[in-house]
């Protein structure tokens, strides 16, 4: 009967709680439709220096952004800003002047006050009316459009808040828009936090089989320890792998080695499925790699799903620790940036974009956050990120957009024109992971004015799952033009 006695108290608590929450939600929702007022100017006009920082940080070397000569002859006629920079121009910066402060949507402040102090961006939908040119000053005005009920998510309990921002130029011309959704949540209330606390101490992981190393093959593994891949080479010019004691071509016992470039191609590949060996992570891809120098090497192909591995695929060396053993492994090379632009007729629905692995380094996370003028501490300060309940710093959403844009135009060519870019975020990109971008042509429209619309479906997948899923509409020149 003690349960029955306890129940009314509990119910009273939860009733109060529910009332409080309902009141908060009502207050928050009362602001729906309100804007931040007259369009607020960006701190700086669109300028080459910020574009160059962005281009470097994202390694997006589309010449329309950074090469005036190329840009002049391009469809744009002059240098344009990367479209995904849209909301970077209007970010407040690290120490904004008083005139630019306090003009944000105050929903965030109210949620902070109610204990929903953590924030994570979940959706970004850009619409590009046209690309921005050097010297233009962007203005922005943001409208609150949606506040969700309180929801329990993996990160924590909180509200999704959606805003729509309109971007205009000095003349009041609308040049773009962004729908942005964030989750404001109570730190420490999510499954992720709970599982981190309750997780049993990790069992010692069985290490992978170690290589047998002899006097004749030690040079190879010494090289791996020093971060280089060595190939045995004879003075007669012959390369040997696996290493030999005597060169069968010229007879010498005096064999040296060279350092391989690390570039190669997949010669064959398999995916062991059964039995699963505890010292390995699955899925596992074993590749026979033909090195640029000519010898072959068995290795792993990492950061790519099996169905995308192809014989002949370009791969690049990464020497890394694999469950206790330092090994040379390979990941697909970043696809070369396309220098001419695909024509509308060159692509068909179902075409796959070559997968593009992006190693997530702390430098990438920090440099792209700063290049996008995002000074949230969780994107550059590990100590503070950890204090806020994150295992490490993580990539900001502007970078997820920027890398998606890069993936699209590296594939389609510099004069592909993005009309929109919509992404939804899943698991974070933490340092030392790799996000591999995958994409395919999902739809094609009708050619008008010599340009044809193409829809790409994209995703960026890291070791924990999908970091981003989304779509991009872009226009390609038509042969009929």
């Amino acid at each position: 009967m003690s349960e029955a006695k306890a129940a009314p108290d509990c119910s009273a608590d939860s009733q109060q709680d529910a009332q409080r929450k309902a009141a908060l939600l009502e207050e928050l929702r009362s602001a729906i439709g309100q804007t931040t007022g007259a369009p607020l100017p960006a701190r700086d006009a669109v300028n080459q220096a910020m574009i160059r920082h962005w281009s470097d940080a994202m390694t997006d070397f589309n010449p329309c952004y950074i090469d005036p000569d190329f840009a002049a002859k391009s469809i744009h006629g002059e240098v344009v800003a990367p479209p995904a920079m849209l909301n970077a121009w209007t970010m407040a910066g690290l120490h904004p002047p008083a005139s630019l402060q306090g003009r944000g949507v105050d929903t965030y402040a109210k949620l902070d006050a109610a204990g929903y102090t953590s924030v994570v961006a979940t959706n970004s939908e850009h619409d590009y009316v046209r690309y921005l040119k050097l010297g233009e000053t962007l203005h922005h005005s943001t409208k609150l459009t949606e506040v969700s009920e309180e929801k329990a998510t993996a990160l924590g309990t909180g509200h999704f808040v959606t805003t729509v921002t309109e971007y205009t130029n000095d003349a009041g011309e609308v040049v773009g828009a962004m729908t942005f959704r964030i989750l404001k949540f109570r730190p420490g209330t999510g499954r992720m936090a709970a599982s981190a606390e309750s997780a049993a101490p990790a069992k010692p992981r069985p290490i992978r089989p170690k290589p047998g190393i002899s006097r004749d093959t030690g040079f190879f593994w010494d090289g791996i320890a020093q971060g280089e891949l060595r190939i045995q080479k004879c003075d007669c010019g012959a390369l040997h792998h696996p290493p030999m004691v005597r060169c069968p071509k010229c007879g010498t016992y005096d064999l040296g080695w060279i350092v391989a470039s690390g570039r190669g191609k997949v010669y064959s590949h398999v995916e062991p499925v059964h039995p699963k060996i505890p010292s390995f992570d699955y899925p596992l891809i074993v590749g026979l790699i033909e090195l640029e120098e000519g010898t072959r090497l068995l290795s792993n192909v990492i950061d790519i799903e099996d169905e995308f591995v192809e014989i002949g695929m370009d791969v690049e060396l990464a020497i890394q620790e694999c469950n206790g053993v330092e090994l040379p492994v390979f990941r697909p090379a970043r696809p070369a940036r396309r220098e001419d632009t695909l024509h509308f007729e060159d692509v068909a629905v179902g075409d796959r974009m070559a997968p593009c692995p992006i190693p997530i380094t702390p430098t990438l996370i920090v440099s792209t956050a700063i290049a996008s003028r995002d000074y949230q501490d969780v994107h550059h300060d590990r100590d503070l990120a950890i204090k806020r309940g994150s295992p490490d710093i993580f990539m900001n959403i502007l970078t997820s957009s920027g890398l998606s844009s890069r993936y699209a135009t590296d594939w389609a060519g510099p004069e592909a024109v993005l009309k929109n870019l919509r992404i939804r975020l899943g698991v974070p990109n933490y340092p030392y992971d790799t996000m591999t971008m995958y994409g395919e042509v999902a739809d094609k429209g009708a050619v008008t004015n010599g340009r044809g619309p193409v829809t790409l479906k994209i995703r960026g997948t890291n070791r924990m799952g999908h970091h981003l899923t989304g779509s991009i509409d872009l226009e390609l020149p038509s042969n009929a033009a």
Partner: protein, 393 residues
């Protein structure tokens, strides 16, 4: 140069245990049982055996087998290396031994509990990493998770598919033929259990691109033979299965299961070396072979074997295996016993026994007018093969 024993030696006796997933007895017991059966089949007494040949990977020492059989003296004993590649090599060695006079009646055997005790399919991840040459060799593959025979073969298979446009279904036709033959062989583990190509395609992945039904069974059992000179064999209980020739082969830049560093990896050069010797010694060609036992630990490497022996051109194995060509009644019925996918995996030795039965005319899946029978041994390793017939007499 021809091999002097060719046509002058014979398999005079065959004997086997039952093939199972759990023999419930020691491998020594299996060895003794199959050896005695082979000796009795030949019409000999155990103490007439004076030579013995087996695999280096065989667990049962010659001396222990001799003790149990009551063999009083052995004047020749030797072993052949490279796992399944040794199968026909043991007969080759025994033929050389009896022809040279090193011994008169040579016992050849292989016995193991490969399913119930020591499974090859579980992987070599626990192999020590020492500086000896074999461990160093595994060091180029094991740290990356290429640990099982299926995975080693799959690497060849993927490249073969890429170069020749072969498909998983082409490999599947080998499995379908084997299981069709096993279905009518009461000694086969898969007796009365044929499969369809669809079942092959739907079977689970072992190592992509290999399905479960591309992989042979793991089996317990023993298989033995008695080899002697043709002259002696004529006086024994069974019609001699004449060793028209037997040959061994290892090719350039040969590796154990992983000869991945050659210019091309779609052929089996070591099997080509074997084939050339057999055709040279016998004066036969592919057209003279009525049935063949083609080593089938994994289906993909059956195709390039057919190519190396000249049953078809390189890359055309995928076409040759179509349309029931390799099934009973086809151009070249292979593995009438069901092969290692259908009957049992006894390291290729049960295939040699089927070769003997085809020559004797006693197989349950007898190929009519089986005059010359080809038997091959393990692929992706240094290997061997032989041709059996009834001799010129």
């Amino acid at each position: 140069m021809t091999m002097e024993f060719a046509g002058k030696t014979a398999i005079a006796g065959i004997g086997a245990t039952e093939f199972s997933k759990n023999s419930e007895r020691s491998t020594l017991r299996l060895a003794i049982e199959c050896a005695e059966a082979a000796i009795r089949d030949a019409g000999l007494e155990p103490n007439q055996i004076d030579g013995m040949v087996n695999f280096t990977v065989e667990d049962n020492p010659e001396i222990e087998v001799a003790r149990n059989l009551g063999i009083k003296q052995l004047t020749h004993f030797s072993r052949i290396h490279h796992s399944g590649g040794a199968a026909c090599g043991t007969i080759h060695q025994a033929a050389m031994a009896v022809h040279s006079g090193a011994c008169n009646y040579c016992l050849v055997f292989r016995a193991f509990n490969e399913r119930s005790e020591t499974r090859f399919g579980i992987g070599v991840q626990d192999r020590p990493a020492t500086a000896n040459s074999a461990d160093v060799d595994f060091g180029w593959s094991s740290p990356f998770g290429l640990l099982t025979p299926a995975s080693w073969v799959a690497m060849f298979a993927r490249r073969y598919m890429h170069e020749y446009g072969a498909t998983s279904e082409d490999f599947g036709r080998v499995a379908v033929a084997d299981r069709k033959h096993a279905a009518t062989n009461p000694e086969a583990f898969f007796y009365e259990r044929p499969i369809t190509l669809k079942e092959h395609q739907e079977s689970r992945w072992i190592v992509k691109p290999l399905h479960l039904l591309d992989c042979c069974q793991e089996s317990d059992g023993g298989q033995a033979f008695v080899v002697t000179t043709l002259e002696r064999a004529k006086d024994l209980a069974q019609p001699p299965a004449v060793i028209a020739s037997a040959a061994m082969g290892s090719g350039e830049d040969q590796q154990m299961m992983k000869s991945y560093y050659r210019d091309e990896i779609t052929g089996i050069p070591e099997m080509g070396i074997v084939a050339q010797q057999l055709w040279r010694d016998t004066g036969l060609c592919a057209d003279d072979i009525q049935t063949a036992v083609i080593y089938d630990h994994f289906t993909p490497l059956v195709l390039p074997q057919l190519e190396e022996f000249g049953f078809c051109k390189p890359g055309e194995g995928k076409d040759f295996v179509k349309d029931g060509n390799i099934e009973l009644g086809g151009r070249l019925p292979i593995n009438p016993n069901g092969g290692q996918l259908g009957e049992a995996y006894i390291h290729g030795m049960n295939g040699i026994a089927e070769g003997v039965r085809q020559v004797r005319g006693t197989s349950v899946n007898q190929v009519p007018d089986a005059e010359n029978v080809l038997v091959t041994a393990g692929t992706a390793v240094p290997t061997s093969a032989l041709i059996l017939n009834r001799g010129n007499a």
